[in-house]
Each structure stands twice: as structure tokens, then as C-alpha cells.
């Protein structure tokens, strides 16, 4: 649905150059939720703004739904933009319009007649759970409700793709949860493709099927989450499931296990104990249901020789790395 190749964006201000996006390749498949994770200043917003050409890239191509946006300008670019919805961190609602009025804006822009517009607006407000707030002004709504208006507005013109720039970063944890649930629900019910950027691990855990880790304008890693978790040294794995803790006896080897997919549901530890008659201790770890897969990481320590234990675990499909002190 979205293909980006060799994307580069440089900001020039007073003889200083900032390379905000430095050669990014990205493919978002139809109907998936793709998350770009990175710290502030990594270039995430710039990347997202290049997708609908709010920023014109210095190099590279952006193709959305088969249309190369980087080759368009004027009316044809505007037409392409109407097929891409966008959700903003600080909502970007019109303060002078009610919730219904805000959702109607994209429909007015495309020239939908008044009666059809009113119907569609009511439908959209209902879809995001704001049916009772049509006449409220943004100032009268909570952060979560404002973002729901923002999402309804982004969906108004029936986009193929939704771009989300830190949609939940200005919200409290509980509201974040409900907005993420809404996005996941829209993804499932409408088959909506979503490209989102975030600095919160939790967002990736809860709704993303694929992800990329961005740093200094580049992707450090990128792909389906289940694949990334199986990759040794994955930053995403370390970020999603941070492990800490040392063995009580410093002589004992320590192993970090990454479990992704079916293996995460196996009674591995008890099998391990039976098979090797080993003393296994869990030092840290979690196993969770992610949007993409059931996965987790464990840090264990084994009394004695860890070699056979690690070998057997690898046979089961576990990614095993020995922690060196």
C-alpha cells in the first residue's frame, strides 16, 4: 500500500543543515499496522510528513496505493492527498467548529453535498463513539474525545491509508489504551492500512503488525514484528521486553531467551528441568499477547553447563543468547 525508497530530507536553516531523514526504505502492506519507533528527533515526523508530501523529499520516491506522489503537484497532488487520512499529536482541530463541523471539513473540501455530508458525519461520529457530542466544540471535549474527532475527520473522505503522528502521546495511559483499541478496531473492520509513528514501546506492542526502529534519520531495523524478534540483537526485542538481573552465583551462565509465536505457549521451563535434571532459575521476563504474535523474553540461569540446554532450546525455536559479564 505504501512503498518508500531512498527517502531523504534535509532541512536547511541559516547555513546549518539537518539531515532529518537519511535514506529510508519502507513497505507497508495492505491492511497492516506499521509502527515506526524512535526517540524524539529521530526524524519520525519528517518521514510521515513526506508520505503525503507536507514536506517535499530531497530524494527518493513515495508511492501510495499505486500512485507515485513524489511525481505529482497541484490538483493531482491534492486529489492524492484526499485518499490519505492524517491524525495529529495535538489533534489540529478547528477551534471555531463543533465536532460535527470538524469532521465535515474534508467532505466540504471534496464538494460532498450538504445532505450527504450530514449523513456521513453522523455515521463517522457514531463509528468513533462520539454520537452524543456532535455539537460540542473542541474546547469542551477531553483529549481522548478530541482525538476521536481527529480520527473521524481523517476517515471522512474514505482514505486508503491512515497516517498517525504520535496520536496518543498527548493522552493519559487509560485514554491511550482506548484510542489504540479504536485504531485496531478500524484496522480490522475497515481493513484500513495504518502507518503510525511513536516513541512509546507500548503502542507497538499493542497494535502493530510490523515495525521499524528509527535513529538519526535511518531505520536500524524494520520488518514484521515476529521476524524482528527472531533476529539476534534486535533492538525492538530489547525495547519491548527489557531484561535485567544477574545470577546469584556469578559462576553460573545466564541465558536470554526470546520466544515468538507458538513456542511462547510451550511449557519450556518444566520440560527443561525434566529433560536435563537441571536447576533452572528465572531471573526476569514476560510473555505477552502482542498484536502480531504471542511473544516474550526470559532471562534464566542454569547451574553448570549451559551448552546442552541452549542447544535444546534452539531446537524448539527459541532464540538463545548467552549474557556475558
Amino acid at each position: 500500500m505504501i512503498q518508500i525508497e531512498g527517502l531523504r530530507k534535509v532541512y536547511r536553516a541559516r547555513r546549518r543543515e539537518v539531515v532529518a531523514v537519511d535514506g529510508v526504505d519502507l513497505a507497508v502492506r495492505d491492511g497492516e499496522i506499521f509502527g515506526v519507533l524512535g526517540q524524539s528527533g529521530a526524524g519520525k515526523s519528517t518521514l510521515l510528513r513526506c508520505v503525503n508530501l507536507l514536506e517535499r523529499p530531497d530524494a527518493g520516491t513515495v508511492v501510495v496505493g499505486g500512485v507515485e506522489l513524489t511525481g505529482l503537484s497541484g490538483g493531482r497532488l491534492r486529489a492524492a492527498r484526499r485518499r490519505i487520512g492524517m491524525v495529529h499529536q495535538h489533534f489540529a482541530l478547528l477551534a471555531s467548529r463543533t465536532a460535527a463541523g470538524n469532521v465535515a471539513v474534508p467532505l466540504e473540501i471534496t464538494g460532498v453535498p450538504r445532505a450527504a455530508r450530514a449523513r456521513r458525519v453522523a455515521e463517522l461520529l457514531d463509528l468513533v463513539g462520539l454520537a452524543g457530542h456532535a455539537d460540542a466544540y473542541p474546547a469542551q471535549l477531553s483529549g481522548g474525545q478530541k482525538q476521536r474527532v481527529g480520527i473521524a475527520r481523517a476517515l471522512a473522505a474514505d482514505p486508503q491509508v491512515l497516517l498517525s503522528d504520535e496520536a496518543t502521546s498527548a493522552l493519559d495511559p487509560q485514554t491511550t489504551g482506548s484510542i489504540l483499541e479504536l485504531l485496531r478496531d478500524l484496522n480490522r473492520r475497515l481493513g484500513l492500512t495504518i502507518l503510525l509513528i511513536t516513541h512509546e514501546m507500548d503502542v507497538v506492542k499493542r497494535i502493530c503488525h510490523s515495525a521499524a526502529v528509527m535513529r538519526d534519520g535511518r531505520f536500524a531495523e524494520s520488518g514484521p514484528i515476529a521476524d524482528l524478534l527472531r533476529r539476534p540483537g534486535s533492538e525492538l526485542a530489547g525495547g519491548l521486553f527489557p531484561l535485567s538481573g544477574a545470577a546469584p552465583d556469578p559462576e553460573d551462565p545466564v541465558l536470554d531467551l526470546t520466544l515468538s509465536g507458538a513456542v511462547a505457549d510451550q511449557p519450556l521451563i518444566s520440560q527443561l528441568a525434566r529433560r536435563f535434571d537441571a536447576d533452572v532459575r528465572i531471573l526476569d521476563g514476560t510473555v505477552q499477547e502482542l498484536a502480531a504474535t504471542r511473544a516474550g523474553r526470559l532471562r534464566i540461569t542454569v547451574r553448570g553447563d549451559a551448552g546442552p540446554v541452549a542447544g535444546w532450546l534452539r531446537e524448539q525455536g527459541v532464540l538463545v543468547t548467552e549474557v556475558v559479564r
Binding site: R49, N52, L54, R78, A79, A80, R81, R82, I84, M86, H88, H90, A92, L93, L94, A95, S96, R97, V105, P106, E108, I109, T110, Y137, P138, A139, A157, L163
Partner: protein, 218 residues
């Protein structure tokens, strides 16, 4: 002078002031919005960046704003004659009043439009809005409280300018206060005139405030 004579004078002055200020307000609103929008569109990072146009427009506005009104009044006499056929009288005063107030209001329009958050404009661009749609549906509409507040300030400034317009035979309350109070030492007439002016200005401010409050949804 009897009180009924004074009342007659005040009534006429009020009518003249209302006509001068009212008419130039309408023209100023149109002209100031136009110039103000052009200033914001053509600035660097605006929707239609045009450096030379912006620089020229900015210069004209600044010249207009730095000229003392009394000098402007005299300077535009030939233009006034060309437009209204005469250079004296209430209607003739409308020309310099408008020319003086447009740059003033244009800057206030510019400031009000700058208050519209950049991400709201970006959101409209991302929706595929045309420039015209962004100006109409986002910039002007979102700036409405600021535009009305700015117009209120402008109208009150016009009331002040209109006193000087008495110099070209414009009449009005300000002129009345000057003629009777300053030149003839009829202190009572002057005080009564100033009183009416104060009430007049107060009314304009209140009306503006009520409108702003109705438009403001924050």
C-alpha cells in the same frame, strides 16, 4: 446657547461621526482583510511565498502607519478630489480615514492570522484543500475572534482620527469639541461632546467584546 441648541449640535455631530466612521469602517474592513491576507500568504513559509510582493506591501503598510494622520489628510487631497469630486465635507473625509486605517487594520489582521496554529493549516493541506479553501475555511474562520477584536480597535482609532478630519470640513463630534471647547471656550459644550464621544466609544468596545466572546470557543 440653550441646551436644545447644544443638543441639536450634538445630534448633528453624532450623525456625521457615525457616517464617517461607519463608512470608512466598511471600506477598511475589506481593504485591511485583503492586505492582511496578502501579507501572510506571501511571507516566507506562507502559502504563496513571494518575497518581492511581500516586501513591497510591507513597506507601503509601514509608510502608511508611520505618517501622522494630519499629514496624510493633506497629502491625499488630490486623490480625494479624484474619487469623490470634492475635498471638503463629511464624505470627503472618508477617503483619508480609510487610507489611514487600512494599514493599521492590515497589521492586526496579519497578527490574528498568525495565531492560527501551524498544525491546523498542515491538517487542511493534508486533506487536499486548495489555497483558497485554506484561507476561507481555516485562516479567516479560525482567526475570527482576533479579526473582530482588531476591527474594534480600528473603529475606535477611526473615531479619534475623525476628530482631525474636521480640518477638511468633515464635521463630527471631535470637530465640535475642538471648535467650541478649544476655539470658543464654551467649556460646557466641549464637556457634553466629550461625554457623548466616551459613550460612543464605550458602545463600540462593548459591541466588539460581545461579538468576540460569541466567536471564541476556547
Amino acid at each position: 446657547m440653550t441646551w436644545s441648541e447644544v443638543a441639536e449640535l450634538l445630534w448633528q455631530g453624532l450623525r456625521e461621526t457615525t457616517w464617517m466612521v461607519g463608512f470608512s469602517t466598511v471600506l477598511t474592513a475589506i481593504g485591511g482583510l485583503l492586505v492582511g491576507v496578502l501579507l501572510t500568504l506571501t511571507e516566507r513559509g506562507g502559502l504563496l511565498p513571494l518575497r518581492p510582493v511581500n516586501a513591497l506591501l510591507g513597506l507601503v503598510v509601514n509608510v502608511g502607519r508611520s505618517l501622522p494622520f494630519i499629514i496624510l489628510l493633506v497629502a491625499v487631497i488630490p486623490f480625494t478630489r479624484a474619487v469623490v469630486g470634492t475635498t471638503i465635507g463629511t464624505t470627503a473625509a472618508i477617503v483619508p480615514l480609510t487610507i489611514g486605517a487600512i494599514p493599521f487594520y492590515a497589521r492586526l489582521v496579519e497578527t490574528a492570522i498568525h495565531e492560527v496554529p501551524a498544525d491546523v493549516v498542515a491538517a487542511a493541506t493534508a486533506m487536499g484543500a486548495t489555497r483558497r479553501q485554506i484561507v476561507g475555511k481555516v485562516l479567516l474562520r479560525e482567526a475570527r475572534p482576533g479579526l473582530v477584536a482588531g476591527l474594534t480597535v480600528t473603529v475606535i482609532a477611526l473615531v479619534g482620527y475623525s476628530a482631525m478630519a474636521g480640518v477638511v470640513g468633515g464635521g463630527g463630534l471631535g470637530d465640535l469639541a475642538i471648535r467650541y471647547g478649544y476655539q470658543r471656550f464654551e467649556t460646557e459644550v466641549m464637556i457634553a461632546t466629550v461625554g457623548v464621544l466616551v459613550v460612543f466609544v464605550q458602545l463600540i468596545q462593548t459591541l466588539g467584546d460581545v461579538l468576540v466572546r460569541r466567536l471564541y470557543h476556547r
